[in-house]
């Protein structure tokens, strides 16, 4: 099954921008181990930064796939830059805004920001800035076989986008 780490697509502008959100819940097991209570120290549950990068990769990946009508196999190829200025605790919402820098037959580069929204006040503050590179794998690896689950990923993303009323 496709592992989706974003909850909702808010905006998708072809080849330019994609905005999504992910709610941070204390019920998510990953937070139980990151970081559990130890000795006198109480538990400090925060979303691992690697998973914040994953959320941005999915957000930007949808934008890159959509730009090519989901005909290309898009994979995350490089984390060009990731800088974090805060921690994502349960009860907050992360908003990912990805923007396209370059798009070509071989792949794409993107940059974007993550913001932490407090649902209680509606206020937001910076969480991270992340730049990524994606590869159109068929053009870069001479058409090596791709796992079947990736086709399901494309179909799932396709359905997700179609559900928002976007073409393609």
């Amino acid at each position: 099954m496709r592992w989706i780490w974003i909850d909702r697509i808010l905006e998708l502008e072809r080849g330019r921008r994609c905005v999504t959100i992910k709610n941070v819940s204390a019920a998510e097991e990953v937070l139980h181990d990151h970081f559990p209570a130890k000795g006198d120290r109480p538990a400090q549950p925060v979303m691992p930064n690697t998973l914040i990068i994953e959320g941005m990769a999915q957000t930007a990946g949808i934008m890159v796939g959509h730009a090519g009508d989901f005909k290309e196999k898009v994979i995350l190829a490089k984390i060009t830059r990731a800088e974090f200025s805060d921690a994502a605790r349960p009860g907050y919402t992360i908003r990912f805004t990805a923007e396209m820098d370059n798009y070509s037959k071989s792949g794409a580069s993107t940059h974007g920001k993550c913001e932490l929204i407090d649902p209680h006040t509606g206020e937001s503050k910076p969480l991270a800035e992340i730049a990524l590179m994606f590869s159109h794998i068929d053009h870069n690896m001479a058409g090596l076989a791709f796992p079947e689950h990736n086709s399901r990923l494309h179909r799932a993303t396709h359905a997700n986008v179609a559900g928002l009323g976007f073409p393609g």
Partner: protein
């Protein structure tokens, strides 16, 4: 634009794309061997060079990667005579003499030095 001006911009591009320090980006440093560039980094470098110099680059013209995937130019992991001739034609900016001694495809990334990037950009301006 002078050679030094092009070099300064190329160095900045490589620092950002590869996360290397300024003093590592010497004219003779190889992108693959000395600066640690991997395949996706070349696409990143292409995007950044296009932006920095306002030029259009295809990855094939910078790297001739179409040659290495063609069986008539590569046999048993080595570039053939025909392949070497094609590389010299397609990559006038690269110094192929050392590579010509081994012709091993795995060593191909080492032909791209910082100076070869500078020459390539100068040819496009």
């Amino acid at each position: 634009m002078t050679h030094d001006e092009v070099f300064a911009k190329v160095r900045e591009v490589l620092e950002e794309a590869l996360g290397v320090d300024e003093d590592e980006v010497t004219p003779e440093a190889t992108l693959g061997g000395d600066l640690g560039a991997e395949s996706i980094d070349y696409l990143d470098i292409v995007f950044r060079l296009e932006k920095a110099f306002g030029i259009k680059i295809s990855q094939a013209e910078l790297m001739a990667d179409n040659v290495l995937s063609d069986p008539q130019y590569v046999q048993d992991g080595k570039v053939t005579d025909l392949g070497m001739a094609e590389l010299r034609k397609q990559l006038p900016h690269a110094d192929l003499d050392t590579f010509d001694e081994s012709r091993q495809v795995d060593e191909f990334p080492n032909i791209f030095t910082v100076e070869s990037m500078v020459k390539f950009v100068q040819g496009k301006l």
